[in-house]
């Protein structure tokens, strides 16, 4: 192993250790904030798969997140408390929703795609508020039972255990997205972003790849929605509104468009800014979020994951301390 691999292994180990220690170190409120951050990270990965990898900026992933959340909640209430059943059915529902709406969405590219997905998101939000019989309307859906991991086991009510449940699923989702990105399909999606006309000229059916990415992202967002239903045990139309869609897109931009760990970090930053630091400064969360976005756009043009060069211009002193860092 060369030094880069050693460093990477050390970093992964350190992050894994830190994530595992969270319930042992922090109180219940902070742990639940970490749980929300993990759920939001999965949603941000779905947004990033479209926005950053395939070059299709989306404001509609909150709709599939909502489909997953409501499906997971309904499965929990009417059918099964088993987490795996809820996750599978919710993901399937998200895939079906994306297959049905995707052909419309991929008619546009760039800002047109953004507007179509915005419309899909808003229609989904309105539908959730209107279909009282299924979704409980604007009152939301409560009475979701604690999620059960193994058949015959007990439901998870402890904040720490819920955190571990969400952590395991989120890590699996991260690995799944990583595999997708290294596959020929994932590489073709990057080509779709970089030069679609050339890809089409070479003979790829680019619309099919865009639809594939849309369906994968829909399923992933629905998976995150099911985690949301299990961890919050309450789902309302607000969970799939414009605000969630915009925050997910902004998390991806702050984290670094195209980078999955950047999107996860951006999601955590957004959730902690809104729910944790926003609480400390007496509920001025929008002010903090706005400042975060403005600063991120100016100071880190490529996002948190955008490479060392921009960090070095921000903190020139650390550059002087590590002169070898430049040789790569």
């Amino acid at each position: 192993m060369n030094s880069l691999q050693v460093r990477r292994t050390l970093l992964v180990g350190l992050v894994a250790f830190a994530l595992l220690m969270v319930p042992w170190v922090f109180g219940a409120f902070t742990v639940s904030t970490f749980t929300r951050a993990l759920v939001f990270a999965v949603l941000a990965m779905a947004v990033n798969l479209l926005t950053g990898v395939a070059g299709l900026p989306t404001l509609g992933q909150a709709a599939y997140f909502g489909v997953g959340a409501y499906t997971g909640a309904l499965v929990s209430i009417h059918w099964s408390e088993l987490g795996i059943v809820q996750l599978l059915v919710a993901t399937l529902a998200g895939v079906v929703a994306a297959v049905l709406t995707g052909p419309l969405a991929i008619r546009g590219r760039g800002v047109a795609f953004l507007m179509i997905t915005l419309a899909i998101g808003e229609i989904g939000y309105s539908a959730a508020g209107r279909l009282d019989a299924v979704t409980g309307g604007t009152d939301g859906l409560s009475g979701i039972l604690p999620v059960v991991v193994l058949p015959g086991g007990e439901g998870l009510v402890n904040e720490g255990l819920i955190y571990y449940y969400v952590l395991v699923v989120a890590v699996l989702a991260y690995l799944g997205v990583g595999m997708l990105l290294r596959s020929p399909f994932g590489l073709t999606l990057r080509g779709l972003r970089d030069n679609e006309a050339r890809l089409r000229a070479v003979g790829y059916r680019t619309d099919a790849y865009a639809l594939g990415a849309f369906v994968y992202a829909g399923g992933l967002a629905a998976l995150a929605g099911s985690l949301w239903a299990s961890s919050q045990r309450f789902v309302a139309p607000g969970d799939m509104g414009f605000e969630i869609a915009a925050l997910a897109l902004l998390a991806v931009i702050v984290g670094g468009v195209g980078s999955m760990w950047g999107a996860c970090l951006g999601a955590a930053l957004v959730v902690f800014t809104r729910d944790y630091f926003g609480q400390i400064v007496s509920g001025h969360a929008p002010l903090l979020l706005g400042t975060l976005f403005v600063l991120a756009v100016y100071l880190l043009p490529k996002g948190i994951a955008g490479g060392r060069a921009q960090w070095r211009t921000l903190f020139p002193r650390s550059h002087a301390e590590h002169p070898t860092a430049e040789v790569r």
């Binding site: 008619r107 546009g108 915009a246 931009i253 706005g290 043009p301």
Partner: protein
């Protein structure tokens, strides 16, 4: 037919007032996007700033309205100048960074306005001379909305003439069509861009001052009018004054007449209409011809 017309007359006139209000917002958004390729998600904030100005300054007299209009105009120009200066360094970095920056600015501005005016929706009274109702074709109708239709029609006509018939308008249209060519011919396009940004922002803020009695200022109104004007711009086509006007009048009818006709589908009408246009004619219904 005349019975149907009679029953929905008020809705249709409401739709015209609503549509003209949307036009004052959408035209700036459309030109800024069409010309500068800047996605300004803080556009709704300018409306809200104008509407709060009207709430704070108008006291029911003509003078109050006049002061509110002047202050609103200044607020809009300053806001537009600030936004143009804020997005200027992002040239060539794509729409996503602009969206993040302007959305961030709008979040900060919205929070500041909540601190100043509180979290309530503030119903704003029109000047007392216009506060009554009159009878129009046998229906009672608020005088202020009729006056608003008159003023906004005048405003729309002026904007249309300035854009389509004046030499400055020709320069702006040329910049929309081919920015690089205009620059090659020796025009400093940045000045044109700043001018259009300030003009669009001032129009949105003035729209806010005049529109406060129709869409009252309050938290979340900035987001609502932003989404409405985005829909108008998408339907009308980017960078076109005519498109913004026709799109705004269409959406005005969808939002009032459509809701009156099929109330149970009301929440879906707006975005359903936008989806339909995007699916059938992605460049917008009235997009200007481009190379």
């Amino acid at each position: 037919m005349s019975g149907w017309f009679n029953a929905h007359f008020v809705s249709m006139v409401d739709g015209v007032a609503y549509g003209l209000l949307l036009f004052t917002l959408a035209v700036g958004l459309s030109l800024v996007f069409g010309m500068m390729d800047v996605l300004n998600l803080a556009h709704g904030t300018l409306y809200l700033a104008g509407a709060y100005t009207a709430y704070a300054l108008s006291d029911g007299s003509w003078l109050g309205l006049l002061i509110a209009l002047v202050v609103g105009l200044v607020v809009g120009l300053l806001g537009g100048g600030l936004l143009a200066a804020a997005v200027a360094p992002l040239q060539g970095r794509g729409h996503l960074d602009q969206a993040a920056l302007t959305l961030g600015i709008s979040l900060i501005a919205a929070e500041v306005m909540v601190m100043l005016f509180g979290a309530e929706v503030l119903p704003t009274a029109p000047p007392s001379a216009l506060s009554g109702s009159v009878s129009v074709l046998g229906h009672t109708y608020p005088v202020y909305r009729l006056a608003f239709i008159g003023i906004a029609t005048l405003l729309a006509a002026l904007v249309y003439l300035a854009f389509e018939r004046s030499s400055v308008g020709a320069l702006v249209r040329a910049t929309v069509a081919d920015r690089d060519m205009v620059r090659t011919m020796g025009v400093d396009t940045r000045k044109v861009l700043f001018g259009v940004f300030g003009f669009g922002a001032a129009l949105a803020a003035v729209g806010g001052v005049l529109g406060a009695p129709i869409i009252a200022p309050g938290p979340g109104i900035d987001e609502r009018v932003l989404v409405l004007s985005l829909v108008v711009v998408v339907i009308g086509g980017l960078g076109s004054v005519r498109g913004a006007l026709l799109g705004a009048l269409l959406i005005g009818q969808v939002q009032t007449l459509g809701v009156a006709l099929v109330p149970s589908y009301a929440p879906f009408l707006l975005f359903g209409a936008m989806l339909l246009v995007l699916a059938l004619r992605p460049q917008g219904l009235f997009a200007p011809g481009r190379a």
